[in-house]
Amino acid sequence: MNINLTIIGQAIAFFIFVVFCMKYVWPPITGALAERKKKIAEGLDAADRAERDLKLAQEKAADDMRASKEEAAAIIEQANKRATKIIEEAKEQAREEADRVKASAEAEVEQELNRAKDALRAQVGALAIAGAEKILEASIDEKAHAQLVEKLAAEL
């Protein structure tokens, strides 16, 4: 239990270890620790930011959805209106067409009738002439004459 040179040897060793530790051990390790701390802080920051962004995006998406729903509803309504209008127009057109067809048909019937009347009139004339001829040709036979006239009248 005696003090000797060891005390100095130990002090020298101590000094060397401290210097080595100071130069080559402490700075890299604490540097890495500080860097990791920074990285973690940045990561947490980024996570916060991402969360905030996500919330904003969700809100925006909801807004967009609502807006497009409203727009779609408006478009559908407009389309319905338009369809009704088109149907009304088509109906109107159809009615007009029908009227026109009916009118032209009526006109045609009228025309046909007139033509028939004319033909009839011509025939009656011819018949009257033929009857007259026959009356003139044949002997006067009152009975036959009367018969003829009656016949004529029936034919008219």
Binding site: Q10, C21, I29, A32
Partner: protein
Amino acid sequence: MASENPTSSEYISHHLSNLTFGNHPTGGWTFAGGEKAAEMGFWAINVDTMFFSILMGMIFIWLFRKVADSVTSGVPGNLQNFIESVVEFVDSNVKSIFHHKNPVIAPLALTVFVWIFLMNALKLIPVDFIPYIASEMGIPYWKIVPTTDINATMGMSISVFFLIIYYSIKVKGVSGFAAELSLQPLGKYFIPFNLFLEVVNLLAKPVSLGLRLFGNMYAGEIIFILIALLPFWAQWILSVPWAIFHILVIVLQAFIFMVLTIVYMAMAHDDH
């Protein structure tokens, strides 16, 4: 062993002797232990203490340097994780005690803590293992725990003492340091008294620092040696609890040495 069948006191004193190399007044340059080592005076060196303290220091440096070399700020491996937790533990202690800017203090504290811890940890090796192997190899004395050698602990505490003086003068200047030593606690009319008090105070720091570690380790070592004197079948009843208790003690003593070193450094930097 010193003799074939040593008595208890021979056994104890043998296990507490360092292997010393020095110039013996009668035997010349030689290895010795016990009484003969004491006769060599100051100019002798405890080979076993130096060997194990430097070995432990090398292990510390090697381990930490290995991690520092491949250190990454990404996901750390197991070893890096462990080393980092040690570094952070020391760093948080330094930061809570030492509030000045000095790049030396934290590495100093780390070295003190880990080195002393490793030297103390040698104590958990059963007391007879290494000395037995050494004696088989023809080495008469071989004490393995450097911190049970007062030279080792005082060597460190005196280094701390010089650092205290160095930083006191560097921060406060020679006049500031002198004023700190002479003008308190009682003011300028009691300079001799103040000086006496402060110098005692100053000198008590390294002495208490070194002796505390030495005393704790030495006392624990003596208990281990006494337990080793028991019959072999009874030893574990005492040595196991004592060793488990010492797991606490070796960390605690390393921690105390580190914290006091930081505190003394902080005091040296504090300007009154």
